[in-house]
Subunit: 187 residues, 4 copies
Amino acid sequence: MEMADQADRRQALISAAFAAIANEGFEGLRLRPIAAAAGIDHSTLHHYFRTKEDLIAAVLEHVTSQLEGSMRNDLEPAGRLRHHLGAIATAIAERPELFIVLDELDLRARRDVTMAANIKHDEQGWRAALVALFDEGIEQGTWSVDLDVHASVELVIATLKGLRLRPDTAEVVVKQLCDLYSRGASE
Amino acid sequence: MEMADQADRRQALISAAFAAIANEGFEGLRLRPIAAAAGIDHSTLHHYFRTKEDLIAAVLEHVTSQLEGSMRNDLEPAGRLRHHLGAIATAIAERPELFIVLDELDLRARRDVTMAANIKHDEQGWRAALVALFDEGIEQGTWSVDLDVHASVELVIATLKGLRLRPDTAEVVVKQLCDLYSRGASE
Amino acid sequence: MEMADQADRRQALISAAFAAIANEGFEGLRLRPIAAAAGIDHSTLHHYFRTKEDLIAAVLEHVTSQLEGSMRNDLEPAGRLRHHLGAIATAIAERPELFIVLDELDLRARRDVTMAANIKHDEQGWRAALVALFDEGIEQGTWSVDLDVHASVELVIATLKGLRLRPDTAEVVVKQLCDLYSRGASE
Amino acid sequence: MEMADQADRRQALISAAFAAIANEGFEGLRLRPIAAAAGIDHSTLHHYFRTKEDLIAAVLEHVTSQLEGSMRNDLEPAGRLRHHLGAIATAIAERPELFIVLDELDLRARRDVTMAANIKHDEQGWRAALVALFDEGIEQGTWSVDLDVHASVELVIATLKGLRLRPDTAEVVVKQLCDLYSRGASE
DNA sequence: CATGAATGAGGCTTCATTCAT
DNA sequence: AATGAATGAAGCCTCATTCAT
């Protein structure tokens, strides 16, 4: 039981840090309030996370673990794309903070090599799945062989990243993007 | 002449702040180094910008003034879209700092109403131009009347925003987006 | 057997503390690393030494026990002096840490009455032996009756203390001091 | 006039730090009390000394400037030695704090290269003067050509260093050392 | 306009120690 | 005896801002 308490406390700290970043931004991340939110002394926080950086890394881990991709391999390419984009649009709409924080992290990654590495790693998996999706679609005739897979993948990623700050438009934008690819497909 | 000096100094401060944000991020924005970069005492900076926020606002103004849109009204809709997106892709590729800083500013806007207002105002103009572009295209038969103008506008904006952190992919992504709309058009 | 373990552990803590003072100085004495070096939790250290001061006192005891003087009473005064100084010079050269730590302790004694008392006690024995040596030497005609015994004792002590920070010069300095007293003796 | 104030304040900080080291030792050197003693906020201290190390360096400079050697070149070697040692003995007796602090600094030099360099530099001058003194003495027949100059210099230095912690014995010890060299000389 | 000393609030981190287990 | 979570005090340092000059 105590073990659960420990983990809980740790999780509480991560959650508090996550919320702080979401609400106040990276600038506003102060250790004292985080500790207070978890109901402990600010020096005790260092018992769980030796340094501020360690806490931030844990936040990143927490965020990415929540976004673990759901790519349904049982659908054909077009449907899979539609489903995947829809899932992300839904996630953006329902839990925008997740993406806000990811954006802050993304920005910080420009100066923090560790963070950059972690984010890159996470994106790699996503990117690979998208490449496979488009490759398969071309193979099956869903899209023309002329389709630029790399460009398409980057377009999808860029669009989704660009939606982070405007969660309210996520749904329509994603639909529009799907439609464009469907039209290409019907051709 | 001194007036020119004044303006120069002011501009030097803004440039220094801009560079600092581009290189170190918002977190790394310290007034003292900014003043030093402009060759003045850190106290004197407050004669030009009463507060840190004021300086940041000036940086935003500086950034947006550099991005004033070039929407060529002499071209037909499809060409105009292609040209516009190409121009932005070029800008991203050539002066990525501009967009990096814009991203930092965008993120900060979530907590700074003044900044949010300024950014929104700037985007409004952009948005309106895009709406006009698509409306005209539909009117002229470039795109189907079924085209969701609002969604398309947001898609374009989201995509471009999403490119900020990956300036190297800007060109191909923009081309891909144009192609998708061209194909839709050919229909 | 466990008792031996206990003593061993205690000794390990003292040794680790000794090494820490020798290497990092008094400033650098931290309990956690000491405990870690002895392979126990930092909390457990408090079972062996209730407080940091207690541990330091034990270090002093450890150091002085290692320096228990070897004054050979079988030699005549001049030879005894030469032998004694030589022994200390050798000790300084071979185990300089012992003297470094003693110096740190000496300095600290200025503010720590307990330490001051302990050190004073240790020195008292040394001082008495030296007084006896010189007294005997005068009695036997080795040195003139004009020899200031007290001053000579303090000179010897001061010189040896002054050598602590320059272990490499210990040998020649000690030899020089002996020579000065031998010359006085030959008179 | 204000300039004097500035320098005064700076000096006040150095003096306060000096006193703190003398009374509490290096361990007890805290910036806040130092600032308070000088009548300023603890953050203002950083305006005068960017870092704690800088302040310590200033203390060292202050101490050594007070000890600038008084080697009277108008006296013959034996008299010069007697005079020099007497001067230092007097200094130790009258201002023992100076030497206490020097001892703390000396000890710290073992871990602080900058301090070690500064101290070494100061000692170099002293050492050179002593070497010259003994060389001249041998040349003039004051001492035998067999005298080990290097050893004698180190003996003098070690003795004086060893006196730091026992200022009350300085006078007699120094006299005894002089006597030993005089006797050697008379020979 | 320019300076630089001064401020006060606040930042992260470290440490010896205690307490419940 | 041993652990490790928790504490609270304290450490150095930084920053935006103000004020007297």
